[in-house]
Symmetry: C2
């Protein structure tokens, strides 16, 4: 570490604090910055200014991604970046850290070598979280052309505004979305906060991501029979909530069985048309489960399904399981992982391989390009939470490793 | 039975079918007739007509109760009746059966003896279910003066309409509510469908109610910590839903332990601000528990509270229990019970003592007057349900016992 002057890197934290001001709910703790909101647009302008200040000739593409670039001798481009939208009540680091550090890395590289062998580009993806429209990773899908017009045309937010209307309000025309598609990218490196506690627990500075967990989401409908809460003997009830509660506990137990290579969560549960003095007749809940390999996820899916059906039989209720989304598990590119690992070692930072249990733009991009991710520790593993925090030292460490990796990839 | 011509009693079922037409949700199965709705008002007019047709000189009191009366030699009055409002998606029998049978009983008595010793009155209470405003038994509270002006003044339905506004729309003035209060009642007999399966299971025609269960309602708030569903290891979670699910099962188990002298139900449960990919941080649920005696209910309350607190400790979450309503257990008047029992025996109908696990107007009135209830079987014990059903024969049986009891009480 002694060779590197870390002082300039301190501004990364300042930039993140400035960007955290752009929140839709200023009276609520944390950051809420959803796709195409006015605060999202303000953050977008801020990022354009930031890139312009670093001489990266920024432009906004057809979906609202912000790009900055150093033109190399070759048109082949090494891409870095992350997203600048957030969940509701999220933190100041998730996504936007990789954007700010990417801008800073390119700015530092540009100072040292005006024209690298390969071109370098940083992108601030417009959307990854799916917090406004029921679709994730619009930004990275757009640059790969990995989206279906008829699917995107259906997207409506919870206020009834369509994606296309929201684009229009931001001066974007959905008919031009295809223009965001690019074919000159050669590799993608994403720097991100871990969002889990493993690096902190191991007191390790840098996580070299081995794979991104595959993920599946279900909606489960449990139907019993609504009945009078006073007069209906327990043995005669078909109580949808008692059954659903047993299912929640069974799914949680399966999560424990599969951890750390799999995990399962029930995030939403509601008694439909529930009444304080009625036996619940209908319950809906969600299941989110993830695994390091698709074969493991498939096994976990089977076990969750059996657990749900067993409890349904035990409590005399009917269930309907509707799979909603599936994302395959994605291994990170081995040679890129080795480069990151080698750069971290050269800089003198502790490192470890780590699986990403969260989804990322890298999960989309890895299906088209050699892709790798760098993680830095999250305090207490908190993320999607107002108290999300990563210490300045960790922010700087990640940024230095990213910069060194990009320079290596660009200049060989 | 052979002495009684049951043919005239057949019309009770026809009257109930006619009244079932007055429903706010005609496209939905079952009957929805909530206090002061247009369909409620139409049913009220129908009942006035019915009483007028039977020569009972009907009038509507200051809260919308419909009364019909046979003037006796004495001003002392034996009251019968029930309510004509319903729950959402309820049946055609709950409440209104006691009203229609009461009208018919008075009409039959009037034919036999024009002036009984004591006066007889039938009342159709405007409201008992609490299905529109968060308060139950407005009709019976009003005739006893058992209501608090400041409490009633606060009542607002889920559309934002206040009770007073709703009264006004029906030509009623809340400032006159006190005029519904009466002091000439000597006893109250309420005929009602059982709403549970005990009479049907025992193949018994008449239930002589021994007591009405006391009842308590709580709201429970469970607070854990919202976290990322992918990256948060299970051991680090404070999952409010997993904890609440364990509480639901524990409460259900306690219900089994206390049945048949107590029962417990969780009717409402919701993850607050839940998201499919977040560990639930906040859950709210309701508890409805009932017992034949207040001492039993108190013991059950303690056990439910301990079960909730034990699970909270086990899962590392915080709980807040807010008691919402309490209704004391009420024994039925012994001499009135004996009269009912003796009349059923004289008529030749099978009978048994039975506890009411549902609340009734009789629960309010018993605090001021000698009160008793007569139950007839409910098919499969279903109630608060569109498929609520009582066979015509049972309807007639109950009506005959009611009539005979009222005549006995009026003439001695």
């Amino acid at each position: 570490m002694s060779m590197i002057d870390l002082n300039p890197y301190r501004r990364i934290e300042d930039d993140l604090q400035q960007l955290a001001q752009y929140t839709e709910e200023p009276t609520r703790k944390g950051v809420t910055r959803r796709l195409y909101s006015p605060q999202w647009a303000a953050a977008q302008r801020h990022l354009v200014q930031l890139m312009r200040g670093e001489g990266l000739n920024p432009w906004v593409d057809a979906v609202g991604n912000v790009h900055g670039r150093i033109e190399g001798r070759s048109r082949h481009t090494i891409l870095t970046g992350s997203h600048f939208d957030t969940v509701r009540g999220g933190g100041a680091y998730d996504g936007v850290y990789g954007v700010v550090a990417g801008i800073f890395a390119l700015s530092q590289i540009k100072k040292r070598c005006r024209v690298p062998e390969k071109s370098l580009e940083v992108v601030a993806f417009c959307e990854e979280e799916g917090s406004r429209f029921p679709m994730t990773c619009l930004g990275s899908r757009a640059i790969l052309g990995a989206w279906q017009p008829e699917e995107v045309a259906r997207l409506v937010d919870d206020q009834g505004t369509s994606l296309f209307e929201a684009m229009q309000m931001n001066g974007l025309d959905w008919r031009s979305m295809g223009e965001a598609n690019r074919s000159d990218y050669e590799a993608y490196i994403e720097l991100h906060v871990e969002q889990g506690p493993e690096l902190e627990d191991a007191q390790c500075a840098i996580g070299v991501v081995s794979e991104i967990f595959g993920q599946e989401r279900w909606l489960v409908s449990v139907r019993g029979d609504s009945a009078h809460a006073g007069t209906t003997p327990l043995a005669r009830r078909q109580d949808a909530l008692v059954a659903a509660s047993a299912m929640v506990l069974a799914i949680n137990t399966l999560g424990y069985r599969y951890e750390p290579i799999g995990i399962a969560t029930v995030g939403i549960l509601e008694v439909i048309h529930g009444s304080i003095n009625c036996v619940p007749g209908h319950v809906q809940f969600s299941v989110d489960f993830r695994a390091a390999q698709d074969s493991v996820r498939q096994r976990l899916a089977d076990e969750i399904r059996h657990a749900i059906e067993d409890e349904a039989k035990r409590y005399g209720v009917r269930v309907n399981i509707s799979p909603k989304t599936v994302a395959q598990a994605v291994p990170m590119h081995e040679s890129l992982r080795n480069t990151i690992s080698e750069r971290a070692r050269a800089i003198g930072l502790s490192q470890m391989p780590i699986a990403s249990r969260a989804g990322h733009d890298a999960q989309i991009i890895a299906q088209a390009l050699p892709t790798a991710m760098i993680f830095v520790p999250s305090a207490q593993g908190l993320s999607h939470h107002p108290d999300e925090y990563t210490h300045r030292q960790h922010l700087m460490n990640g940024s230095v490793v990213l910069e060194s990796t990009l320079e290596k990839l660009a200049n060989g």
